[in-house]
Symmetry: D3
Subunit: 132 residues, 6 copies
């Protein structure tokens, strides 16, 4: 049902295969999920998106688990079903337990609630928050 | 400009003061930010929201810093200006460094980008993600 | 700061004035708020939008107060600051009390919270909800 | 497909059963919809969410039908499919007719349209809306 | 599964049939897609929505292909699955090639990313953008 | 008010200056807007975002004006005020007339309206749209 269909490894061009190979090597896995197969019709976007994600999700000031949970939190908030399914799997692979997932969900729910209280009550930013 | 105005401590009812006191004691601070003063016109919502946040943001399977950064990530994604200002301050108080903030922003930006790639390319959920 | 500026009554074309006149007559008021002055640069959109709103917000199976409060609830949920300000005023004119506003805000907050719990817990639609 | 699965009544802990019982008693029904079964993995969130909804949706300054229709309006605006299905059913149970539903949809559609006109034309808030 | 079901041509009232006929004539096609059949339960909304779309999507300062691609871009950004499917088909009918679709997706993804960078970094509008 | 402040050219590191120089050269302008100065605190994100935008917004299957208008359409739909201001300026520079802007706004408004009609009427995707 994907707009342009899915490009399987065996049908992929060398340029696409190189990205698929790097995804599998980096993630220590032997399969490619549909997201990559769907955008592979645009090899430039495929390569750019993968390289951006690879760099952004690598360990830095934040560890990969925290980053994956943030990615999941945003995807939940945006109500992207595919993204919730795939990043739940990714976060679990990084070590997210069910207890962590439940707390993540509490935070996402509460943030969405208070974001709207702010909008409806038309709360102005406190002076203290404006000064650095 | 707040819809119903702001209720300052000196003008607050005992019920509202009790919440203000608990906020200041819990957060080890001596002031109340506008969000609470704006919703204090509805003491039931004020009390419920505060108690929910107090419970949800307490240490658990996730530490308070991780929770605050998730709250911030969702608020950024929702483009709630007040919430970004207040939760940036809250996250910093919990220990968020500038380096952490920058990586948080990278993740939020990337998640919002790929959430839309998924929608536009109409990517179906992989079988592997459906089975538990 | 409006993109194309605001068109005041005295500077308006007869076509735009006719819409302004109808807005003031329908709403029993003697002024036009900025929204209409901003979109008046596109007289076709001005006329269409006004006529749609006039028809949609008129009494029907739902009364005008309920409709205005729904309009406000959606605008709050979408975090449109101008819309919150203008539709709060409009709802009050229709009879919305502070007590009603507070309950409206509770509903909007809760709906936004549970909408995300549904997304994150990946809840499937119950069979009972699918059959009519 | 729910992230953590669904907890049926017969498999529920006493704490979860107590909430299920209260839901069924309050709603005068003999079944529990998937939303509750999905979040029951987190009994604290289950209990809190239910008690919040029970309190918020009870008759007050607004009647339960108006509240349910607002909840539905926000869920439609947020494009949460599960929420639309479940709250359409809930609103109908409270007395929403097809005629009411159609008018609700007109309001939600129009609000989403004008919210964007405001953003694109960069409309500034009128002085009159700022003064209380 | 549509809330009120779908109204087929043979079961439609003369008023609804007139709209269906105009849709087919305008689009040079012999079938009606589900969107129209679903909202046909509200003939006033059906007629208004169709006439608005017919007028808005007609050639003007922008050509129909550009308009359809913009419609698609917004629908992708809003993650409306039905809308993505139907407006992808509509845009292709107007001449959108796969290459155009891929570039459209790049723009939508990038816009969603930078929109959030702006929110999180709390970027203020440049003076130059305020003056006309 | 930007979270980390704005980095002016004279205070920028060579790495940041190189991006600023390329922005000014590519856009044939002698100033840098606040967006870049705000994210310049993260030189990696600055460079990546600029290079992505430079590549994506270049002429391809779609011309730069069409791309800028799509970017604007998405930003309007997302209600990002800064983005609306900056991309309105950018689109005008590429040749967007007021007439084009007005039609763009009509499309964005209508898409947001019908996206919600689809959600509320729970319209299922037509078989014809699923087959490629």
């Amino acid at each position: 049902m994907a707009t342009l269909g899915l490009i399987e490894y065996k049908d992929a061009s060398p340029k696409v295969r190189a990205v698929y190979d790097d995804i599998m090597a980096t993630r220590k896995t032997d399969w490619i999920n549909n997201f990559w197969k769907a955008i592979a019709h645009d090899p430039v976007t495929l390569k750019r998106t993968w390289e951006d994600i690879k760099q952004i999700m690598a360990p830095g000031a934040l560890d990969p688990l925290t980053k994956e949970m943030m990615y999941l939190a945003v995807s939940v908030s945006n109500q992207c079903n595919y993204c919730v399914a795939s990043h739940t799997a990714a976060a679990r692979k990084q070590g997210m337990t069910d207890a962590m997932f439940k707390e993540l969900m509490e935070v996402v729910g509460m943030a969405n609630e208070t974001n709207r209280l702010v909008a409806g009550y038309q709360v102005e930013i406190d002076e203290k928050f404006l000064s650095r």
